[in-house]
């Protein structure tokens, strides 16, 4: 048995301390680890916890180191909680800056110098986005995203004109609740509200179930609330994570009464805010929103009142004007009508006067024309007749002259003929007339030789006796 000279424990711890100090003094390390066994002593400002590394996929612990935070570390943690809204507690994954030291009593110690806010924010944000994606994927009927905006069944509910009957989910007597109630009660317009309180814890991720239950209670109450108000009562600006849970988000999205939130989150909106009907920043803001909404309604009503007033006054004015216009029109038209008729009468008067005179004048002219005709023509007629008579006398004279000339001519013609055939003329031409027994004869038969005949030649009478008688052929004078 090899027994070396025993040394005092303190010697050993001093040596351990010496080695560790030599190795780690003045050095810090950024490490990623999970927090377990956390406890916080508010009075001292000490955080005690273990940093563990778990095997990926499984839950097996690969490494574990006890850690603590105080002084600067505690300050940084407080800042972390404020900024991220994430409480420093078990089961959170953090990026911390640590220093390694050894204490002779408490042993190996890792003290937190700083904590990386953005690492955790990133992680939380990642979780939140995953939850939102899941909500969208699994509830396509009730939740949609258009652009950057989420639309849910709840957000699509119409708000009643007046929000007066309220179901309030909050933690009992929290500062936020007080603020909310105070703001409502002291509204400057004197609006009255009916508030039913549905108290529950609104911090700590596990209390999501509580809020869910209160929503169910509200639904089951069967009261026609105008809105459900979810407000978070003041205190530490930490632990909003329950409002980012899938369950609560889905419940709010599907709730049949408009949900108004006032969770008090200063930075990003929680999933509940995104799913709710009307998210506001704080309980006071939620109350102000409700008052403004009601005021909006009252203003609309007052506007309608004004419209009614102004319009009815305008109506009166219009009607008065119309009446006045009609009055004027009737007066003017009646006067115009009378004036027109007067003019027309005057016109007719003039017409009758002028035309009657014109008629008389025309008749006079006509009469003169006709009488002129009657008077001038007879003289011409008499003169014509006289001419006719004169012509006739002339004719008579001429005709008688011609008449006598013709008659003379006829007689002269006969005279000529008789002169030609007169025996005197025949004898003159050498012919002789033979008388036998005292008678003129043309026949030689009765005359025989020895007969006594008398021959007349021109103006001489010859008495003779016939000696001989011979016949001639008588062709001597044939022509």
């Amino acid at each position: 048995m090899l027994i070396t000279q025993p040394i005092k424990l303190s010697d050993l711890t001093t040596r351990i301390q010496q080695v560790i100090t030599d190795a780690f003094a003045g050095q810090t390390y950024w490490i990623i680890a999970d927090v377990t066994n956390h406890s916080f002593y508010r009075e001292k400002g000490y955080h005690y916890f273990d940093l563990v590394e778990k095997k990926e996929g499984a839950g097996d612990i690969v490494a574990r180191v006890p850690a603590m935070a105080w002084g600067v570390g505690t300050t940084r943690i407080r800042e972390f909680e404020f900024v991220t809204g994430q409480q420093f507690r078990n089961d959170i994954n953090v990026l911390v800056k640590v220093a390694v030291s050894y204490h002779q009593i408490y042993g190996l110690q890792i003290s937190v110098q700083d904590i990386d806010v953005s690492f955790t924010i990133g992680r939380l944000e990642q979780q939140k986005q995953e939850t939102l994606l899941k909500l969208l994927a699994e509830n396509p009927d009730t939740i949609q995203k258009i652009g950057e905006q989420y639309y849910t069944k709840n957000s699509r509910l119409p708000l009643n004109p007046v929000i007066q009957k309220l179901a309030v989910i909050s933690s009992n007597n929290s500062a936020g609740y007080q603020d909310f109630v105070h703001t409502l009660d002291n509204n400057p317009f004197g609006y009255q509200f009916i508030m039913h309180n549905y108290f529950t814890a609104v911090q700590g991720e596990t209390n999501a179930e509580g809020i869910l239950q209160r929503l169910i209670d509200i639904f089951n109450a069967g009261i026609a609330y105008d809105a459900v108000i979810i407000i978070r009562g003041g205190g530490a600006q930490t632990d909003f994570l329950l409002f980012d849970t899938y369950k609560l988000g889905r419940a709010v999205a599907r709730f049949p009464i408009p949900v108004i939130t006032g969770i008090g989150h200063q930075k990003n909106e929680t999933i509940v805010d995104l799913m709710a009907h009307s998210p506001t920043k704080t309980p006071t803001k939620a109350a102000e929103f409700i008052i403004a909404h009601n005021r909006g309604f009252e203003e609309k009503i007052i506007n309608l009142q004004k419209t009614v007033l102004i319009k009815s006054q305008q109506l009166f004015s219009t009607h008065f004007q119309a009446l006045s216009a009609l009055n004027t029109a009737i007066i003017n038209q009646a006067r115009t009508m009378i004036a027109t008729h007067k003019d027309e009468l005057t016109g007719y008067n003039q017409l009758v006067v002028n035309e009657a005179r014109a008629i008389l004048y025309n008749k006079q002219r006509e009469l003169l024309a006709v009488s002129g005709q009657v008077l001038s023509k007879p003289k011409i007629m008499v003169a014509n007749r006289r001419n006719d008579l004169q012509n006739l006398v002339g004719n008579l004279q001429a005709f008688s002259r011609i008449y006598f000339q013709k008659k003379q001519a006829y007689i002269a013609h006969h005279e000529t003929v008789f002169r030609l055939v007169s025996p005197v003329n025949i004898l003159k031409r050498g012919f002789a007339i033979v008388y036998h027994n005292g008678k003129v004869t043309a026949s030689p038969d009765a005359i025989t030789p020895g007969s006594n005949i008398k021959v007349l030649l021109t103006d001489t009478e010859i008495n003779a006796t016939v000696i001989a008688k011979n016949t001639t052929d008588g062709t001597e004078f044939n022509i």
Binding site: V393, S400, Y410, I411
Partner: protein
């Protein structure tokens, strides 16, 4: 002279004698007689004509004076 002989009767008889002489062979023994008659008739007509003409001329002269 015949008492009631008119111009018209005389002139007709004259025209008949003229026609007879013109168309027929009047025996010489009555030719002279006929010619004698014709001569008488011609003279009668001429006298009547002249008398009438004188009368008519006279009347017409008066008419012209009146017109």
């Amino acid at each position: 002279m015949e008492q009631n002989l008119t111009y018209e009767a005389a002139y007709t008889e004259l025209k008949t004698i003229a026609a007879e002489i013109e168309n027929e062979s009047v025996p010489v023994d009555i030719l002279a007689e006929k010619v004698k008659r014709a001569s008488f008739l011609i003279e009668f007509c001429q006298k009547k004509l002249r008398a009438t003409e004188a009368e008519v001329t006279n009347i017409i002269k008066q008419m012209e004076q009146n017109t």
